[in-house]
């Protein structure tokens, strides 16, 4: 299935070649979890602080159980803030 | 082992924690105007430069003092003795780096003395822009090079 992976701020360095604007479309196996995608791209889990799936917050604790579906956008940030 | 303050302006954010720590330790209050270290703010060049005494070997300030009020301690640090300083300010014009300054409220001069081996500015710096390290280590030569250049220009190469 196809998903979009977006890695921001310091996580941007973990994006595979071909990524643009901090995003890349990926073909992942059906039923892949958030954790699967992150592991596949060697993203250190301990700094995955803010995880949004289609803009909706996914607590890091459910990353390994939450399965993605076709067309999902997974966006991840390290600990950041602003205002 | 001789220790020295080594400054990396590339890491400085301009927060002035060093000035606050210095003035607290030396003056008992937060007062950047009386800090022995000053952060220069080159706003248009996106650069902040902490600046203080390099404790030159053959110190201009010390040589110029008419009353022997500046001495070198066992670590090579030049110290001002307030009880002897008369406030003539000759050292302030003699130091080509401008790092010994007149303190109008005490009538004496003030300069960095590395806090007796435990510099407060180093502890206060949040980004390790100021570190205290063995002079033999890399990085120090660069700092001294500037001092040597000044010496050479005056034709008074320092005797090591």
């Amino acid at each position: 299935m196809n998903i979009t992976l977006k890695l921001f701020a310091s996580l941007g360095t973990f994006l595979p070649p071909g990524a643009a604007r901090n995003a890349i479309e990926l073909d992942v196996k059906n039923g892949a979890t958030i954790g699967d995608v992150l592991t596949q791209h060697c993203v250190p889990r301990e700094i995955c602080h803010l995880i949004l799936v289609n803009g909706i917050f996914a607590p890091p604790a459910i990353a390994d159980s939450k399965q993605l579906i076709e067309g999902d956008t997974l966006a991840v940030w390290p600990p950041v803030a602003g205002g | 082992m001789q220790m020295a303050l080594v400054i990396d302006p590339g890491k400085c954010t301009g927060c002035k924690q060093c000035e606050l720590a210095c003035s607290y330790v030396k003056e008992g209050e937060f007062n950047p105007a009386k800090s022995r270290i000053r952060v220069f703010d080159f706003h248009q060049d996106a650069r902040f430069v902490p600046y203080t005494c390099t404790q030159c070997d053959d110190a201009w300030c010390q040589k110029a003092c008419p009353v022997d009020a500046i001495t070198t301690n066992e670590w090579g640090v030049k110290e001002v003795h307030d009880d002897l300083c008369v406030g003539c300010k000759v050292c302030t014009i003699a130091c080509p780096f401008g790092t010994i300054n007149f303190n109008a409220s005490t009538g004496k001069v003030m300069k960095c003395d590395e806090c007796g081996g435990d510099p407060a500015c180093v502890k206060a710096c949040p980004t390790e822009a100021i570190v205290y390290m063995d002079v033999e280590q890399a990085g120090f030569d660069k700092m001294r090079a500037w001092a040597a250049k000044t010496d050479a220009a005056a034709g008074t190469a320092t005797a090591h």
């Binding site: 701020a9 604007r21 803030a81 602003g82 205002g83 | 002035k16 003056e27 209050e29 706003h43 060049d45």
Partner: protein, 615 residues
């Protein structure tokens, strides 16, 4: 203690500068800065006065931690009746100016009346005098800064000034200190301009002492460790600045785009922190040059940027080739997504102009967005704009408009009125994205519900900084709440409002609260000041301040009807993103909020509440 105990009262009409003792009783009840100065304002001024008349007072106030080594302890606020809103205004700024005022020996500067000709206030320790500013009237903040330092031969002076926007009566003119830190909001710069006061220059060589140095050093050192150890304040903010929010808020479907018609911006990446840090331009260097700290701040989130020298905005203007204050999130939103512009250099240039001429970029961008929508609708035409095509997405329109606004030339004069007056003038009040006359910034309440209540009830008008529930709703600080629901938000908003009022009165920066709780803050204040300063006392002070400000606004003529949001947010659902189909649920939150506050259904504090808070 952290106070010098001295206040300078300047009567601009009479040309007098009279020192007086700080009211320590009030300081005990209102802490300092925002709270304490508001108390002075409420005690001494009729809230019904015209903000641009000589009757308005303006107070530059520090907090008890300003000038100390407490991390971020360098802030000050400008308190007055806002030119833009007519509500109580408190604009908070960092940089070095506030601490310098303390070092000069002054806790606050109270300004009254109006000078007969342009003046600047020059404070060199205990020497305070009004000096002729006719040579700098008409000059930018940047030129004023240089002129004053040269005039007094002291590069270590710190200057807080208005640019030409404040002189020209731009209603959202701000006051800029240290070249790019600003008391930006609510039109405090317009008030300053109306008083013929160009600048306040300060040089202080005195010291600040605290009540108990040993306890203070222990408390501040521990608190600094918390900031350094926290991933947000220790790494995220210094590296990416507040601008890292751009993609987060867009992903969350809460990025107000094209005058809040949309909640996501398709070109968001081009104006984000990630874009600022990416190589660009002919030299391959990024827009972002470095980060900068304000006085005493161990976070250092400030952005120092450069505009690409080949960009159309500056290609023939080498005077803009240097580095200066770069885009913060709200500015990048206002000059970018709000008007649909994706040209980062254009945004950076517009931001430079805002700093240089003393313009609040939030209000400017939002006002321009409303104008663009009216231009699109044909309500405003080339006839009014003088041929300037105010099209969404046009960088040229943005950069020309910001220049014209400062100068109050052509259509810039209209833009300088602010969104509310502009939309009223052209018969489209519903297009003004304002609360109490002030443009709210970069968070669409349909996607972050708590912010809707925050905007509606903010005492200085539409504002994100009075209760930044984004921290909880999006970033999970101190704990995660769902941004799409209204449940629990009244309590959350009240808690943020009260705590923020206390922090804003202390001399600290609100950004510390990404890592600090009140448990980290209270010991620092406690060691700084005489008496016991507990978390409970601070929160009570915060609530007292909130109610005092509310009282001012009620007396100034505001009512519960003003605690509302633009109809677009209440009636038109978000079109995309997680909030798709949602409107701002203000009606579900406001009554509960009033109740939690101890206010009547009409939004008036009950006598019980007032007496509980000793008001």
């Amino acid at each position: 203690m952290g106070w010098t105990g001295q206040v300078m009262r300047v009567n601009l009409t009479e040309g007098t500068c009279t020192p007086e003792a700080l009211n320590m009783e009030w300081a005990g009840e209102y802490l300092g800065q925002r709270g304490l100065a508001s108390k002075y304002l409420c005690e001494e001024m009729d809230p019904r006065i015209d903000p641009l008349s000589p009757d308005n007072m303006m107070i530059f106030a520090t907090g008890p931690l300003t000038g100390t080594c407490a991390s971020t302890g360098g802030r000050f606020s400008v308190i007055t009746k806002g030119a833009l809103t007519g509500a109580i205004a408190c604009s908070n700024s960092g940089g070095y100016w506030g601490a310098e005022l303390k070092f000069a020996g002054w806790d606050m500067i109270i300004l009254e009346g109006k000078a007969s000709s342009p003046v600047y206030l020059c404070i060199i320790d205990d020497k305070v005098e009004l000096l002729d500013a006719s040579d700098i009237w008409g000059k930018s903040v940047w030129d004023t800064d240089a002129w004053i330092k040269t005039r007094h031969q002291d590069p270590q002076m710190h200057i807080s000034a208005i640019g030409i926007a404040g002189e020209n009566g731009v209603l959202y003119a701000g006051i800029v200190n240290d070249l790019h830190r600003a008391a930006g909001r609510s039109g405090v710069g317009a008030v300053m301009g109306s008083k013929n006061l160009k600048a306040i220059a300060v040089r202080g060589t005195g010291g600040v002492k605290v009540d108990d140095f040993l306890a203070f050093m222990t408390a501040t050192t521990a608190a600094k460790k918390v900031l350094a150890g926290n991933a947000v304040t220790g790494e995220g903010l210094p590296t990416y600045g507040t601008q890292v929010l751009m993609n987060i808020i867009n992903e969350s479907g809460a990025l107000p785009t094209r005058n809040n018609r949309d909640v996501q911006f398709e070109d968001v990446h081009d104006i984000s922190a990630e874009a600022m840090a990416a190589p660009s331009g002919k030299d391959g260097k990024p827009n972002l040059q470095t980060n900068q700290a304000c006085f005493s701040c161990t976070i250092a989130c400030g952005r120092i940027s450069k505009v690409n020298e080949e960009h159309y905005t500056v290609q023939n203007k080498p005077e803009y080739w240097h580095a200066s204050g770069g885009l913060e999130y709200e500015a990048a939103w206002a000059l970018g997504a709000a008007v649909g512009v994706k040209d980062l250099d254009a945004l950076t240039y517009a931001n430079f102009i805002c700093n240089e001429q003393g313009i609040d970029p939030i209000s400017f961008g939002s006002t321009l967005a409303a104008a663009m929508e009216m231009y699109e609708d044909g309500v405003i035409t080339d006839k009014e704009t003088g041929g300037l095509a105010l099209e969404f997405g046009s960088a040229q329109a943005l950069t020309t408009a910001v220049e014209l606004t400062g100068k109050a030339e052509g259509f810039g004069k209209e833009l300088g009125m602010g969104s509310k007056r502009l939309c009223d003038k052209y018969g489209r009040p519903e297009l003004s994205m304002t609360v109490k006359g002030q443009e709210f910034p970069a968070y669409d309440p349909r996607g972050i519900q708590g912010m809707g209540l925050g905007y509606a009830t903010a005492n200085r008008g539409g504002c994100h900084l009075r209760s930044y529930t984004v921290a909880s709703e999006i970033l999970g600080i101190p704990e995660k709440t769902d941004p799409l629901v209204t449940d629990g938000k009244p309590g959350l908003v009240k808690a943020f409002q009260d705590a923020t009022a206390a922090v804003d009165s202390s001399g600290l920066c609100i950004f510390t609260t990404f890592a600090w709780t009140m448990e980290d803050i209270a010991p620092q204040i406690d060691a700084d000041l005489p008496g016991d300063w507990s978390v409970d006392r601070l929160l009570e002070v915060g609530e007292r301040i909130w109610n005092l400000e509310r009282q001012f606004n009620l007396q100034a003529g505001f009512t519960a009807k003003d605690d509302t949001l633009p109809k677009r947010l209440l009636n038109d659902a978000a079109k995309t993103g997680p909030a798709k189909g949602l409107v701002a649920g203000l009606d579900k939150m406001l009554p509960e909020y009033y109740e939690l506050r101890g206010w009547t259904k009409e939004g008036v504090p009950t006598s019980e509440t007032l007496s509980r808070l000793a008001l």
